[in-house]
Symmetry: C2
Subunit: 562 residues, 2 copies
Amino acid sequence: MCDSHSGVILISHWNVIMLAGLNFATLLLSVAVCQGSQYKDINSETVSVDQGSTYGSLWPLPQQVSLSEVSFKLSSSSFRVVDAEGSSAGPSCNILQNAYRRYYEYLFGNARKTGHFKRKAARSELSELQVSITSGDSDCDGYPGATSDESYELTVDQPYAILKAPKVWGALRGLETFSQLVYEDEYGAKSINSSKIVDFPRFQHRGILLDTSRHFLPIKVILANLEAMAMNKFNVFHWHIVDDPSFPYLSRTFPQLSQMGAYHPYTHVYTPGDVKMIIEFARLRGIRVVPEFDTPGHTQSWGKGQKDLLTPCYSGSTPSGTFGPVNPILNTTYDFMNLLFKEISEVFPDAYVHLGGDEVDFNCWKSNPDIQKWMDEHGLGKDYAKLESFYIQKLLGIVAATKKGSMIWQEVFDNGVKLPADAVVNVWMGSGLQGEMFNVTAAGFTTILSAPWYLDYISYGQDWQRYYKAEPLDFKGSDAQNKLVIGGEACLWGEFVDSTNLTPRLWPRASAVGERLWSAKDVTDINDAYSRLSKHRCRMVERGIQAQSLFSSFCRHEYKGI
Amino acid sequence: MCDSHSGVILISHWNVIMLAGLNFATLLLSVAVCQGSQYKDINSETVSVDQGSTYGSLWPLPQQVSLSEVSFKLSSSSFRVVDAEGSSAGPSCNILQNAYRRYYEYLFGNARKTGHFKRKAARSELSELQVSITSGDSDCDGYPGATSDESYELTVDQPYAILKAPKVWGALRGLETFSQLVYEDEYGAKSINSSKIVDFPRFQHRGILLDTSRHFLPIKVILANLEAMAMNKFNVFHWHIVDDPSFPYLSRTFPQLSQMGAYHPYTHVYTPGDVKMIIEFARLRGIRVVPEFDTPGHTQSWGKGQKDLLTPCYSGSTPSGTFGPVNPILNTTYDFMNLLFKEISEVFPDAYVHLGGDEVDFNCWKSNPDIQKWMDEHGLGKDYAKLESFYIQKLLGIVAATKKGSMIWQEVFDNGVKLPADAVVNVWMGSGLQGEMFNVTAAGFTTILSAPWYLDYISYGQDWQRYYKAEPLDFKGSDAQNKLVIGGEACLWGEFVDSTNLTPRLWPRASAVGERLWSAKDVTDINDAYSRLSKHRCRMVERGIQAQSLFSSFCRHEYKGI
């Protein structure tokens, strides 16, 4: 199946046709390649052989790539990334200035500048990357959002390379791509081929879920993974910050929640300063931080610091001493949620908050005579799904009053809660997946797909291939329905990961999801992906990310952090 | 089933009975506890709950443990580990002096000594651990071997603790146990309870296989894992050093093997100095280094640097350009093996070399007309297993001439090779396992079990429980046959592990194997194991080992190495 919007354009095999010395433009042989039909025989997830990719180490693959054999050298002493004349972002743009430094370091390390900065560039040397933000408002001082423009165009040619993007977000993506085009020739000289790239994400929402409740993740781990996300063009950090086992969020309004509910009230909490720092670190990489405060289930740790918040479970006619989901029949519950979500709306700048709503166990509610009485009085009978919906409905109102949009897990939709028009439904159940995607989009709601990408489920072999092959639009929806699928998320739930193993377990397995969500639909050649991803993971390792190997192989620079 | 040699003796629940201030000896209530029959309901590998263990954080559980509630404090400024009077090992014993320093650092970090070293110990203070090597020859300058004595007795009481062991190897195990008895009280004071431990390994051979061919493992990674092995009382590093993908062993006799066959001839090889260092590092921890040079299969990387070593495969009547197993019909093959294994016998001090012999693919031999002709001439017909046996038989002779014993994978036995009486058969195939164990031991050969412990096969959940439950003597052998099962190995083959993920993937999963091989047969209580192992893994993390978590939880000091 050769999808028409593929757009992947190929000039020549990277190492085969010798075009050196010839003018790039005159030799642009645009050959459309439909990758989907190649290597059909590779269906197992056991072994891949690196046959080399035309696209070098590009990951995720840009929408349109034209590469020539003409190559230029980059000198650590003279190469510069600069704001282009006329760019709407200047030296006061933190995001870009930080990114220039970051990518200079990725490319050259801490190489000492020894040459003359303004010396005339040698023949076949690339001396500058000029970055131009083309729209009037660069977004430089803002936060990335659900509709931020991440498109960019990159032209590498003499006398300089040009990166054009409407907004800083696209410039960030383009800088990553530029850095991925640079390679070392056989003498170790930094080199880049003349090339033209036109790029934009296939899906707007490309997220990673990390769970800081089942295990506390030290700030360093979160920051390292934000770095890795940027290298893979992810743009949403879905922060599943609290859950049953622990409540590490230090709330200014309700400090007792973490004091009583965290694994440790000082060493295993995120202070307001920590949260601010993580949000800013993410912003500088064009990554949104969407916090999830999951209720009414998954709240055991909340109950330790907030009296009467959870439902007392009964054993016969007496309280058993254990607690169930949030108690939906008390006014105090909603007073509490009002204040908490007001704080959350101020602490987290993103336009969305994730409210959870998954896996609510009804047994405790069923056991509680006050709940039963209330349900009788309110005509809910024995329909506990309705009780859950009653609670969520009120919570949605509370959140809407803070001017935030709501993301919720699919059960909330399935239970028939009346959702605001801008609600985002997060589909996570593997069984009945296609029907669910159809129903959610048929009802007109935007949806985010997580089901195929539960990366906490590990297995032997190259399971990245399975993640890679999952196709978000693999359900029988109309074009309008397809448009409502705004992206997906790779979820690394925390039962079995902490700071000792999170990063190698997540990367490069999540990279497979990254390409699926960014690149064109027909970029599905598993052998080509294997080749590029192998190189990409070695690049992550060189940049200090503890990304594990795909298969028997080596990196020029093995991970030395251990 | 309460096995009679259990020997686990229990005084009282760690935190329940208050014996403080009473004399330890008078209150020694020896209650034999048969752990095998408890918690039978826990058969799933999903969730364990830490209910606390009577045995604190001891791992692997010693053979006999008597713990009292009487506790002493240890002061970083005055506590000393010293050679006992009359010990056959003195200050010139490197192994012990190194171990004293190592365990002091594990206990106290780099705490600055501020107090008076010789001051009178306070009441309820433990001021010394006296280490006594009781046999005439301490083995201090030797290497650990297949029959080394690792037994020890540890008595913690005032005025000092005493660790007695026939050899230094037992002292090393006892020091680890002593360090595991030390805990922090609620004020952070280092404390230890009055206790008596009598200990020895159930199985002599307790190994970890690491594979440095599929991925090169930097020295640092190997050393970190030797450290972790010592913490878990493992005593054999089975070094699967070369294989098809790469030949990182730098041979002085045949340097071209790594020059051509390693992933990189300088950065991805083990020099003679590296090997020496690894062996000495292991010796200091009572760990044998058994190298595996696997032939005649698994030798693709060997062929690159040694002309004519591998069998040329044919496509019809012409060589295809590919190569198969070692060529068994050429004299030059045996000349080469003679010289190589002579070098190996000198480089590696252990009394055993592992010769591999697994998974030989006959297709290439079948395709080669010279092989066929030779087989006809020698009456082997079409029996390629016989050809393999012919090769291995000669190799066994070559190795025997170097005065080394041979370990081989089970196929060599299965194919009917006439093995030397001291050969060790390594059983790795899960299918037909019990029959194989029966047959190997019925034939009178010692055997090492690896089959249940292929830790490269990962799956979701607490798979350590499966490794823990595997019982090496779970086949219908006689007592004499059981005695021939000298131990087992946890194998971490290298397809999917390198320096980024090896350590967290191996630990604490391998710890489960460590307890199965060290502790008494009836130490099988999975809840008790969960409690102790959770604490043990946090201790490994505190000691700098990147050991992953068993389940949702936290460590007081999370891993900060990332």
